[in-house]
Symmetry: D2
Subunit: 259 residues, 4 copies
Amino acid sequence: MRLLAIGDIVGRSGRRAVKVNLGGLRRELGLDLVIANGENAAGGKGITKEVAQELFASGIDVLTMGNHVWNKKESFEYISRETRIVRPANYPPGVPGSGSGIYVTPGKVKVGVINLAGRVFLPAIDCPFRKADEIIARIKEKAQVVIVDFHAEATSEKVAMGWYLDGRVTAVVGTHTHVQTADERVLPGGTAYITDLGMTGPIDSVIGVKKEIIIDKFLTQIPQYFEVATGPFQFNGAVIEINEDTGEAVSIERIINYE
Amino acid sequence: MRLLAIGDIVGRSGRRAVKVNLGGLRRELGLDLVIANGENAAGGKGITKEVAQELFASGIDVLTMGNHVWNKKESFEYISRETRIVRPANYPPGVPGSGSGIYVTPGKVKVGVINLAGRVFLPAIDCPFRKADEIIARIKEKAQVVIVDFHAEATSEKVAMGWYLDGRVTAVVGTHTHVQTADERVLPGGTAYITDLGMTGPIDSVIGVKKEIIIDKFLTQIPQYFEVATGPFQFNGAVIEINEDTGEAVSIERIINYE
Amino acid sequence: MRLLAIGDIVGRSGRRAVKVNLGGLRRELGLDLVIANGENAAGGKGITKEVAQELFASGIDVLTMGNHVWNKKESFEYISRETRIVRPANYPPGVPGSGSGIYVTPGKVKVGVINLAGRVFLPAIDCPFRKADEIIARIKEKAQVVIVDFHAEATSEKVAMGWYLDGRVTAVVGTHTHVQTADERVLPGGTAYITDLGMTGPIDSVIGVKKEIIIDKFLTQIPQYFEVATGPFQFNGAVIEINEDTGEAVSIERIINYE
Amino acid sequence: MRLLAIGDIVGRSGRRAVKVNLGGLRRELGLDLVIANGENAAGGKGITKEVAQELFASGIDVLTMGNHVWNKKESFEYISRETRIVRPANYPPGVPGSGSGIYVTPGKVKVGVINLAGRVFLPAIDCPFRKADEIIARIKEKAQVVIVDFHAEATSEKVAMGWYLDGRVTAVVGTHTHVQTADERVLPGGTAYITDLGMTGPIDSVIGVKKEIIIDKFLTQIPQYFEVATGPFQFNGAVIEINEDTGEAVSIERIINYE
Ligand SMILES: [Fe+2]
Ligand SMILES: [Fe+2]
Ligand SMILES: [Fe+2]
Ligand SMILES: [Fe+2]
Ligand SMILES: [Fe+2]
Ligand SMILES: [Fe+2]
Ligand SMILES: [Fe+2]
Ligand SMILES: [Fe+2]
């Protein structure tokens, strides 16, 4: 089977990139499942029901999240109900939503999707490594294919997670930095890995935000309202070819499309 | 002219990667200048005179540094004297060494090299943006071609620096994360940009370090001695084609070689 | 002469504490100048014209600020004009407002007030130590008595600043942690020092904020709106007895009043 | 009963302060138990068997630790065996040592001692709040009197812990900042609280370290070897008067002695 993982979708521009690209990619590549990081989909910060439904309508099957998952309090109830949204599993017990789910492809393959968040330079949530152990033990009984979106800042934490889960899951794909990395590969144990899928959103921006705003912030250190940039988009992600019988990845290939 | 910029060289493995790759690349690509980030060249942390001289002998013309520049106190005096070593220019006044230099290619082109370090998730040194302004104003009188190694963690800070200097320098190449990014391009103003050149060192490692050590550190949070990994190397960098009359970049191309 | 320095005033509760306490203290102690940290005076975050004027009317002569100075964009213009407000001097050039001022007591003593902010665990602004050197050199020509409000998180940075300026200014008083420290003393060079003046605001709170909110934040790691607590107030500060001829501090005494 | 809690003992100077002060205090105050934070007792960083035994010989009954607990690898085995040493309980499973213990006073009162570490600006270990719940549930079955040393940086996290445990333990005493706070009080639920006990070590220092070294570090941002300062010491701590039948604190009083 073939799975597409899309990097952080940022605002209106990113949603347009999904709409424009996904139909063609589905046909061309014969995709069985499409997951995407949606933590910046609503105006650059968080998600709403309307935005999520627009993305599902564009062909995304599962939305994973990240540190911006809690940006819109009005969406907590929706995040709790919507089974196609998965937020970082290593938030403490009691927070809204779920950290993993099992999704069935048209070809009846069960795919487990786990979302984890890093802790280096990010909020002090529960250990993503031990949480991975815990969920994988559970999910592997039901799904042979398991994809982990590890939403984290530090390359050390992300690369370590790749090695830690090598041979135990189908793929570990990183998100959060909004810049695609060129280190995609299938690790020796059969796990596809990439440090960051990149960003799906406005090209001429600083990781999605109007560049003048971010530059001004660095020059003055005065907090700013981060407005999503406009202009042509980029579409970032990776296609993973999977042996659904073994749950091993066969290959991983980066995608960068420009408007 | 053609310049090669090499990502963080890590330990013995990285130095071997340079020795093995650089001769061939110089010939094939007709390189006029080779710069490399050497902050991890000596046992993964800092630089020594012996290690620097080994790298110069392998064909590197200029070594830039980063947050690990001060790891070996016994090298401070050497860093102060060696004009082919450039450390982040935005360290406070009074620290050893120099933050920029001008180097002459065999074809008599003067190339300014500036090293800057980011401050997001890193030590609180002087503003890299204002320091860039200051040095560029000075160096541009003497060198048409100017290369900036921006050694930083956060993608936001690095991408912002690219835009900030677009049209004012020939290239902004990022270092420090040890993972090459796939966002190389020539920005609209003529500045070649890449968020991170990646790492030249052991492939099967966590950003150069033995993977078992880093995984153990994440699992226990007990500080560890970071031993450089062994095994086959990767060679990471980018080649920049430059119009030496205008100082503009014509193209930037990533290099990833494996042992 | 005698100067009162008041710790971070938080919200309505803190302003009431000032109003209730300051008249009596002025009379009892024969105060010549009253400075206060006002960075949390308006609803816990930042300052407004109305709130500042209320505090001036209550008897405060100078308001210093901190990392929350930029919380209310509508006040930037006011902060720029109001000479009785001083914001951290080590923000980069070009930001609104001034980092120091000279104020004249009823007894015609000129008192320089400098506001600096720390960088450990706080925004990466300019070096507070070098900025202190620069301003002191300038201000000492006009004012014998100089008070520094060093708004910082880490005790190491604050204690270091005390020693760095010992013998060069009249007092270094710390703010920002909202908890008064018990280390007040006159250092050997004649500079009064305290790591933190504490908080003037609601007692039964977590540094001014409703305690249930902060506890919930620590338990869930979900960002929260920080509502200022209500209930009885505490008034925190320190009185510094000064030899106005030499500019040396004679004594420093902590004040903690409860409603 | 009466318990003395001593703030972070730093190096030789701090150990001398204990030796000089503790005998007298034991007699004067009629102390039933003495606990002390020992994370900096050996040369400013960590603990060794020799240093611990010197402190036990001086009259300390229990040593709690902090983020420096892992500084000396050669002591891991000792920390694992020595039941009078308690390290932060919220380190992940599998690390050496224990996070709590029960100690019996000469008058046969059982006192539970729990060590926890904060996560704000500190390593990402397990949640100290949930870990507190877990241990208290267990320890309360065996000991009526329970003391928590919460080793943390941020005042918000420490004050929040005080409120969180109010009425459930006898005392929450903070350590780590090396500066004593003046906010000691018995909270409404009967829990004695202080944000930081302070430091027992060299007075004329920056939180125990030679002041010239720390100032130089702030000025240059070059990492330094942190040498413990010499000269006269201070002894910092707090005495807690406890109703051993109810486990409630009756009073808490700060101690600051100078050499
Ligand atoms: Fe994102
Ligand atoms: Fe994110
Ligand atoms: Fe590096
Ligand atoms: Fe680095
Ligand atoms: Fe404050
Ligand atoms: Fe503050
Ligand atoms: Fe300590
Ligand atoms: Fe500590």
